[in-house]
Subunit: 221 residues, 2 copies
Amino acid sequence: SVSVRNVSKDYVLGRTIVRALHDVSLEVERSEFISIAGPSGSGKSTLLNLVSAIDSPTTGEVFIDDIPLKSLDDNGLSDLRANKIGFIFQTFNLIPVLSAFENVEFPLLFKRQGSVSKGRVKDVLARVGLHDFMHHRPDELSGGQRQRVAVARALVTDPLIVLADEPTANLDHETGQAVIDLMLEINRSAGTTFIFSTHDPSVMSHARRVVRLVDGRIVAP
Amino acid sequence: SVSVRNVSKDYVLGRTIVRALHDVSLEVERSEFISIAGPSGSGKSTLLNLVSAIDSPTTGEVFIDDIPLKSLDDNGLSDLRANKIGFIFQTFNLIPVLSAFENVEFPLLFKRQGSVSKGRVKDVLARVGLHDFMHHRPDELSGGQRQRVAVARALVTDPLIVLADEPTANLDHETGQAVIDLMLEINRSAGTTFIFSTHDPSVMSHARRVVRLVDGRIVAP
Ligand SMILES: Nc1ncnc2c1ncn2[C@@H]1O[C@H](COP(=O)(O)OP(=O)(O)OP(=O)(O)O)[C@@H](O)[C@H]1O
Ligand SMILES: Nc1ncnc2c1ncn2[C@@H]1O[C@H](COP(=O)(O)OP(=O)(O)OP(=O)(O)O)[C@@H](O)[C@H]1O
Ligand SMILES: [Mg+2]
Ligand SMILES: [Mg+2]
């Protein structure tokens, strides 16, 4: 489903080069539920960005369902992001002028099948405990409520692969558990592949596999 | 040091009123190290915003060192924020065009004593593990690195009171522990008062007192 082969990612900063990922290789099968763990700054967000084609590697390649991301043009990449991948950003990236409901509805407007189900939007929001807050805009929501809108938005299109960057960082234990339970249920019923980074050991405990990053390298599988 | 008396906070949303805090009272002595805990949406950020005068209560009053915040004009409030209070935002609020170093240096430019110590800025950044990243701008930093810049910025002015809104949410256990250790050390050596909200039980375990919020109310001290 997802294949990362000898990927390195360098950032240029003035006259220095910051190597965020070094020769990273990873195979993720369809329907896996895997966690990426590692200290702050170890490269987790960078890796998720490369897998979702938000960014491209300096060297090495990423394949999704055997298609090399390098071979996709802008249309191909937009299509991939609209129809195959759901992404939960570490900084949420909600649209400030839209309500929670409208933010979650938004990706449905871009899916190939085109029909937007208001019921589905309400349902996903209710599953993350936000039924009573669906008309609030992001600046009228708490940090953890914004995070849950970002979660709902990534799940509403029923994507093949969900990439979640620290999806419970701003949540108390119980609320975070509800989010993970929802993801596990979708993984089991729809076969959706989940790749998520987290610092929380109790969230990690639900993953069938934990991939560890230290200083941009994968250590002991 | 900090006195919250019968404070309520209402937000108006269209035709509804959202009561974020209901009749909250709290006394915090000089040099306390206290944690505010509670589920997502329970009112933690709202309470911290009222204590720091970023926002004002709908009813009730907040006092800092016996001065009612209501009695301060804009100059008095700016002076309070520049000289007495350090605030670590849940969403960091770093200045995008400045480097980590410049972001941390920034509050020193507004303090009454006026002398900016480059050494002090470097020292605080090193204490949160960011010595090698001080020239990165926020968009060149990981989520947890940005969080640590926000921490360093709040501590650099040696304020009397530090208000920290989930200061370790984006940090792995070890890095988060280093941040809490730094705060404990400052609390012991300088007598700085710390009031922080957190979802992390291990962070909470360092607090001498835990105040619990549920649905905007304080429950069982
Ligand atoms: N401008 C606003 N308009 C309407 N409701 C608001 C507004 N700002 C906050 N709220 C509501 O007030 C409640 C308390 O918000 P607050 O940010 O204090 O929660 P919190 O305890 O910090 O949560 P979290 O742990 O998720 O950060 C939430 O239910 C939120 O939806
Ligand atoms: N544009 C950039 N320029 C220079 N360095 C960068 C840039 N973006 C990221 N980095 C560096 O790359 C490294 C990896 O960043 P990344 O965001 O992937 O870490 P992370 O594991 O997600 O950390 P966290 O747990 O704190 O979110 C960090 O040390 C960061 O400073
Ligand atoms: Mg990250
Ligand atoms: Mg909050």
